[in-house]
């Protein structure tokens, strides 16, 4: 059945159904608002599925994430969920790490095994993060229900080796919005690490950054979501302008349509996020991450329908 609303996308060189694009934008925007991830790892494959060339899909998606994360950041800011200080430090680290990552990927491409390493890094990162988040949130959910039945222990547990290491670093400072105290070096170094991984994997890095904020920076989940969106906003502004300037692959019309759907979705997502408990959010995100990992793994293991692909995609 053909729905009557079609628009021609001049950069993608294809006509698309308006309602389908709005729906895709809304769905991915919803996830973005709930979990604080950019959604590029979902949106780009969905756009390719409906006939958008891979390079245009990735670049236009970055453009729409600018809008969705602006909307999401504002929604979370109103709820007091954005730690600007932490976000800026992570961003600085991310930009530096991204620059290093781009150089690493250039060297890997020259060696001829970049695609293999990218795919393996992707599956491993998604698998490790997904399994760890799932286990941790599941334990946390169970222990919180057990804690309601049992009294609290008389003495608090001894801090872990990681906590002692973080406390021993110089330049200690308060992050009042996140309610943590740590060295300025921590978000900077972790930002660099995520930036390197994101550049190698060719993604915005939201789904790596969120677990890093939760488990290594010990930020509360709701602040993590808002701060992650704030950071993604700047990353995607950079990507959009660079892609448009260097490759001419940003389809303005496609991005605008996706934006219409995703900004509504992001606002709804932010409200759903507020109603869910932190552990519930983490466990749903873990399932989502694991589902993407399984899909990628199957893509690597099963014989593809077509043994060639247009050059230029991810």
């Amino acid at each position: 059945m053909h729905l009557p609303f079609h628009l021609y996308l001049p950069i993608a060189g294809n006509s698309v159904n308006l309602l389908l694009i709005l729906g895709l934008g809304g769905f991915v925007g919803l996830l973005s608002g709930i979990f604080g991830v950019g959604g590029g790892f979902l949106m780009t494959p969905l756009l390719i599925m409906i006939g958008i060339p891979p390079t245009v899909a990735a670049a236009s998606d970055s453009n729409q994430i600018v809008g969705a994360s602006t909307s999401g950041t504002i929604a979370h800011f109103r709820m007091g969920n954005v730690d600007f200080k932490m976000g800026l430090l992570l961003l600085l680290g991310g930009v530096a790490g991204g620059t290093v990552g781009v150089q690493i990927i250039k060297i890997l491409r020259q060696l001829g095994n970049a695609d293999f390493l990218i795919s393996i890094t992707y599956v491993l990162m998604l698998g490790i993060i997904g399994v760890y988040m799932f286990q941790e949130s599941y334990r946390s959910l169970r222990s919180s229900s057990a804690a309601q039945a049992a009294p609290a222990p008389a003495h608090p547990a001894r801090p872990s080796a990681y906590a002692r290491f973080v406390a021993s670093l110089p330049f200690q400072t308060e992050f009042p919005r996140s309610g943590v105290r740590m060295s300025l070096l921590m978000p900077l170094l972790l930002g660099i690490l995520v930036g390197i991984l994101a550049a190698i994997m060719g993604v915005g890095g939201g789904f790596i950054m969120v677990p890093v904020m939760v488990y290594l920076l010990r930020m509360p989940m709701h602040v993590v979501v808002g701060t992650s969106l704030f950071q993604i906003l700047f990353t995607c502004i950079d990507v959009t302008i660079m892609q448009s300037y260097s490759n001419h692959t940003v389809d303005f019309v496609l991005a605008f349509l996706l934006l219409l759907g995703s900004t509504v979705g992001a606002q709804v997502g932010a409200r759903i996020s507020k109603r869910l408990k932190g552990d519930q959010l983490k466990i749903i995100l873990a399932v989502l991450v694991l589902a993407v990992m399984v899909k990628m793994l199957l893509g690597l293991l099963l014989t593809p329908d077509v043994l060639v692909a247009q050059a230029g995609g991810h």
């Binding site: 389809d251 060639v308 050059a311």
Partner: protein, 261 residues
């Protein structure tokens, strides 16, 4: 002597008449509408109508093809014996991005010519295309990757074969009319294409006509493409600003809505 000259003149006249008559029987008349089309904001494919007359003992094959160009591809292969991923590049030369074929009946029913006949109808189909394109690197299995490329193009809807898509009218003075409606795909870029009509008989091409078809971007799509390619930096900045304003606007709308309750 004069009688011989008159005889030669009469014979020449007869020969001209015979050749003219033969030519009239074989000459194909073709009319194509439209010969150019515009790709505007609401373009979702279009229809080209082909009409004409052809000798009653001939069939008609119609093709809509893009300009042959180079095509860069990634080929997939196994790593460590079990993981499928991109392994190396391929380049096809003289490969048209669009190839739509319209036949009145299956290939077999159009007759068979010698496989080496350069005017055989096989040259009109994918077999003929495969013989014309070249692939790099040369050591690779060209047939295998050509077939894989066809799968990709069919998935995109840019390579199609439509059997039974040419209708004939009644016979009249040794000729008959033909008509075909060509559905041009929505996934089409601005550029030059060719609509080719072939008269075929007993597996051979006996006549042909080719008309250039221009697909031209107009209106908003033309403006956006011009901006994206000629003012790329401003296009990127504008796209970013629109996204931010859109996000702010939606934030404001939702925020205002919340405040009203």
């Amino acid at each position: 002597m004069r009688r011989i000259k008159i005889m030669q003149w009469i014979l020449a006249m007869i020969a001209c008449w015979a050749l003219w008559g033969l030519g009239a029987a074989q000459a194909m008349e073709v009319s194509i509408q439209p010969q150019a089309f515009e790709i505007g904001t609401f373009y979702n494919g279009t229809t080209l109508n082909v009409e004409g007359r052809v000798a009653v003992d001939q069939d008609v094959v119609v093709r809509f093809v893009g300009v042959p160009d180079d095509l860069h591809l990634k080929k997939k292969g196994k790593v460590l014996g079990c993981l499928w991923m991109n392994r190396g590049s391929l380049e096809f030369h003289d490969f048209p991005n669009v190839f739509l074929l319209y036949l009145p009946k299956p290939w077999d029913a159009l007759g068979q010519a010698d496989a080496n006949d350069p005017h055989g109808i096989w040259t009109l189909g994918l077999e003929g295309l495969e013989s014309r394109v070249s692939m790099e690197p040369e050591g690779e299995d060209k047939h295998l990757f050509f077939q894989e490329l066809l799968k990709l193009k069919r998935k995109e809807g840019l390579y199609r074969q439509n059997v039974g898509s040419i209708a004939y009218g009644p016979e009249e003075q040794g000729a008959r009319t033909f008509r075909a409606s060509l559905q041009i795909p929505a996934r089409l870029s601005e550029g030059d294409y060719h609509l080719e009509v072939y008269a075929v008989s007993q597996g051979r091409i006996v006549d042909s006509a080719s008309v250039p078809i221009r697909a031209r971007l107009v209106g908003t799509p033309a403006f956006i493409k011009k901006m994206a390619f000629q003012h790329a930096l401003w296009h990127g900045i504008l796209a970013t600003l629109v996204a931010i304003v859109g996000g702010l606007l939606m934030g404001f709308i939702f925020g205002a809505g919340k405040g009203a309750h």
